[in-house]
């Protein structure tokens, strides 16, 4: 079970009215390497992973939902007061036609989220390597969004999220090391 804390993991501040940034940010919301895909990937894989690293997948998968919530807040703030005309100018006309300013799980190109974005091979090494790759891809996605964004306060939050991807990747790499060391090793304490 989960306990919900009614606050964001890191404060989200958006200082400029630029709905086009929402179009880019949605890549991290419902994209293949986005936070939703990450959370569901880890929380699903943890059932069939050696028990030494289950807790890691639980913790990181849970944190991904906290990141999802931050991204959602950013997108919401950028679009909630946009007129249909502003949505058109931001390239969000197709989104507006279907969803008004509601959020939806699709990527920056409007492709809806699909479970085929995530994998569960059942092989611990294959799964952890997938997780490492997912973290590095999410890190890169944050870089490209930061490069396109001119909002310093928004970038501050995105930099925080990118740093977390680095840490998650590090911990998954350590999980691989734990599983490599486990077999046929006599440890004396």
């Amino acid at each position: 079970m989960w306990l919900y804390e009614k606050k964001l993991q890191y404060p989200v501040k958006v200082s400029t009215c630029n709905p086009m940034l929402a179009k880019f940010l949605v890549e991290q919301y419902g994209g293949a390497d986005g936070e939703l895909a990450a959370a569901l990937r880890y929380l699903n894989q943890r059932y069939t992973i050696p028990d030494k690293v289950i807790g890691l997948l639980t913790d990181i998968g849970t944190e991904e939902f906290a990141h999802l919530e931050m991204i959602a807040t950013m997108i919401y703030k950028l679009t909630k007061d946009a007129t249909p005309e502003q949505m058109k100018q931001a390239g969000l006309d197709a989104h507006y036609a279907n969803h008004d300013s509601a959020l939806f799980y699709h990527n920056a190109a409007g492709v809806p989220w699909t479970a085929s974005y995530i994998a569960a091979k059942g092989d611990p090494i294959a799964d952890l390597y997938e997780d490492i790759a997912a973290e590095e891809k999410a890190r890169a996605t944050y870089q490209w969004i930061i490069n396109m964004s001119d909002d310093p306060d928004l970038n501050d939050g995105l930099r925080y999220l990118r740093e977390r991807e680095i840490i998650h990747s590090q911990r998954f790499r350590e999980a691989v090391e734990i599983l490599k060391d486990e077999q046929g090793k006599k440890r004396v304490f």
């Binding site: 890191y10 490069n147 930099r159 740093e163 590090q170």
Partner: protein, 76 residues
């Protein structure tokens, strides 16, 4: 520029349609180099850690857009 940035120089043809970007960079974050985290690494203060996203100084590698000036309060 961060020591975790690498640079490479792609071939540019004299017949390229757009002005060439002569140097391209990519990020090689600290997690690629450490293996299992060794004990007793230097830490940020709790307040700094909450802001940067990591407790460990060695893993802090912020990304700035080339079109954006870093702010003074960043600890890079």
């Amino acid at each position: 520029m961060s020591t975790h940035r690498r640079v490479w120089y792609p071939y540019a043809s004299p017949f390229d349609p757009c002005p060439p970007i002569k140097a391209k960079t990519y990020s090689t974050p600290p997690n690629l180099f450490l293996g299992f985290q060794p004990p007793n690494l230097e830490q940020f203060t709790p307040m700094q850690a909450l802001r940067t996203g990591t407790l460990w100084k060695v893993f802090y590698d912020p990304w700035y857009s080339p079109y954006e000036a870093p702010r003074e309060d960043d600890h890079s």
